[in-house]
Amino acid sequence: MPVMNYIQALNSALHNEMERDPRVVVFGEDVGRAGGVFRVTDGLQSRFGEERCFDTPLCEQGIVGAAIGMALNGLKPVAEIQFMDYILPAYDQIANELATIRYRSGGQFSAPVVVRTPACGGIHGGHYHSQSTESIFTHVPGIHVVMPSDPYDAKGLLIQAIRSEDPVLFLEPKKLYRSARAEVPEEPYTIPFGQAKVLREGTDCTVVAWGVMVHVCKEAVEQAARKGIECELIDPRTLAPLDEEAILESVRKTGRLVIVHEARRNTGFGAEIAALVAEKAILHLEAPIRRVTGFDVHCPFTLDPYFLPDAPRVLLAIEETVGF
């Protein structure tokens, strides 16, 4: 099996699906001729033609709005927003339109659009190239929210997203684009939504993380293990639908929970996980639920490394939770 980085895995998924299904069209800013500023859509235009992979005007509300119309009329749009920071002008089209059309039409219409976007920080891009605002999307029913943490998951979940009958927001931690590598089949395969991945089993503390933070946590739980603390590390992979059961089951076993995300703490998705556990597994909790997250500031440029959780911070939280 070939080894691919995250970009190659996504690119392979797009090639597979465009090959398989003539309804799939890929578009966004700079995705066509140039193959995307991160090259995720590289080679698609030359392979499938300008009608199936094309550049759009610089207008996110237009990109998502047009994607909805294309999906209504039977195409399968895979739209790229160049950075997640720039998805906000399209927030209305996503939350008020895309996520609602099936419901408000009584199930008559659906717009199974995939919106892909490079998310999260760690590339020293300042506030406008670092945001992970997944929680403003998980608040909206009618759309799936996916954030794979490695190339294998990325490919399987992207193909699942493209085949989904529902809209999907597909978040790609750009820091992993070139740094994460894995064995990835050339052939298409899918990974179902709503199934968490347990990266490490353990009995002392449950650690839940997604995106780049999965890698940070891997390091932290290994260090914890060296200190005799056995953590269970869970990557939900899809935040909506969320594999609640996997998290609850783990917490029932470990009695302890540390949630790690890049997004700002206040009303981040970590809050939802904490609330679910505080409602459904409270009797099992033996320590406070800890959130290790971005601080409640705008990700700064020079001081960026302070903003993001790193392995030492996670390890400390694990130790404090277990030692509580």
Binding site: A66, M70, L72, N73, L75, Y103, S105, G106, F109
Partner: protein, 373 residues
């Protein structure tokens, strides 16, 4: 034609500017349009009354805009798509949405095609390619452009007709949709009913441009004005634009000058912001009266037919409303359907939660659309 000239085929007094009619317009079809206009005027009045009586919650009337609505929708062909707004009961009806479906939607009953999910006036019909209406202004414009781009990619010989008001032209989504349509030369006809007002704001406050039609220049395609109270002018211009779009000629913007004779909606009192003389002036240009005069002048309509049409349409409207009102509310479990193709575990859990609450009598079962007030 310049973006500020106005295409008119019927003068307000019902006299015709030209005697030549497109071949497809036989007297039967024209009288059919007239009948639809009368029916809609009657539906409008009835719906306003229902709201006043507290039998429906809300209504947005379109009286005064019947020519713009019927004339434009009449120009559509089967394969075309239509993106209406909340004011387009008339266009939806002309497109084929039954009076019963309209009435059911107003009551949000269990038979409503949209399952009572939305406020009155927010119709949807997939079979007729009438795209689900949402309340936010202008959001349908880039969607319509996208639908038309898909038509082009799929090489369909079809077009998309996108409705919106003068107020909508101020939104960012208007710009987005027009620009996408222009760049991709999408087969999309943008049909703006400039009814002079966006709730209480006059069009002069909406834009500094000399017309709405001229805005097409910013996107590289044609825009023109038609007399929106002249059903022949509306039909002809929309038909030409749709034909052009289907033939690969790209998008067109049509500004139909018309007037909302009634309130913005049942929540609005227009006397607070506009003069009686303005309203009276536009009443003289009533699109139904004008078309009736012309049909009479051609000998295609007479007193007896007019009376029969008025009687019959009123009865039809009455019947549809009675029937709609008699139907129950959608069932409680439907609250959790249609979010996704398959409900998620979270939704299933919440559905059980609600049904449990109803069963235990904690929450009361809804059997009818709750009354107003």
């Amino acid at each position: 034609m310049a973006a500020t000239e106005v295409l008119q085929l019927l003068a307000p007094d019902g006299s015709a500017a030209s005697e030549e009619l497109p071949a497809e317009l036989d007297p039967q079809r024209l009288v059919g349009w007239y009948r639809n206009m009368v029916l809609l005027r009657s539906f409008d009045r009835r719906a306003l009354n229902l709201q006043r009586q507290g039998r429906i919650y809300f209504y947005a009337p379109a009286s005064g805009q019947e020519a713009a609505q019927i004339g434009s929708a009449a120009a559509l062909q089967d394969g075309d798509w239509m993106f209406p707004t909340y004011r387009e009961a008339g266009a939806c009806y002309q497109r084929g949405l039954s009076l019963q479906a309209l009435a059911d939607q107003l009551f949000g009953n269990a038979r409503d095609l949209t399952k009572g999910r939305q406020m009155p006036n927010h119709f949807a019909c997939a079979a007729l390619r009438i795209v689900s209406i949402s309340s936010p202004i202008a959001t349908q414009i880039p969607q319509a452009a996208g639908c038309a781009i898909a038509q082009k990619i799929k090489r369909e010989r079809a077009a998309t007709l996108c409705y919106f008001g003068d107020g909508a032209t101020s939104e960012g989504d208007f710009h987005a949709g027009m620009n996408f349509a222009g760049v991709f030369r999408a087969p999309c006809v943008f049909f703006c009913q400039n009814n002079q007002w966006a709730i209480t704001v006059p069009v002069s406050r909406q834009t500094g441009s000399e017309s709405i039609a001229i805005k097409a220049k910013a996107y590289g395609f044609e825009g023109y004005r038609v007399d929106g109270n002249d059903i022949l002018a509306v039909y002809t211009s929309v038909k030409q634009a749709l034909d052009k779009a289907r033939a690969g000629g790209g998008p067109t913007l049509i500004e139909a000058l018309t007037y909302r004779m009634g309130p913005h909606s049942t929540s609005d009192d227009p006397r607070r912001y506009r003069s009686e003389s303005e309203v009276a002036e536009w009443e003289r240009r009533d699109p139904i009266v004008r078309f009736e005069r012309w049909l009479r002048s051609r000998g295609w309509l007479d007193d007896a037919t007019v009376a029969a049409i008025e009687r019959e349409t009123a009865a039809e409207v009455e019947q549809a409303i009675r029937s709609a009102e008699a139907v129950d509310a959608p069932p409680p479990q439907s609250l959790f359907e249609d979010l996704y193709a398959e409900p998620t575990p979270r939704l299933r859990e919440q559905q059980r939660e609600l049904l449990g609450l109803i069963e235990r009598g904690v929450v009361e079962r809804i059997t009818r659309t709750p009354l107003f007030g």
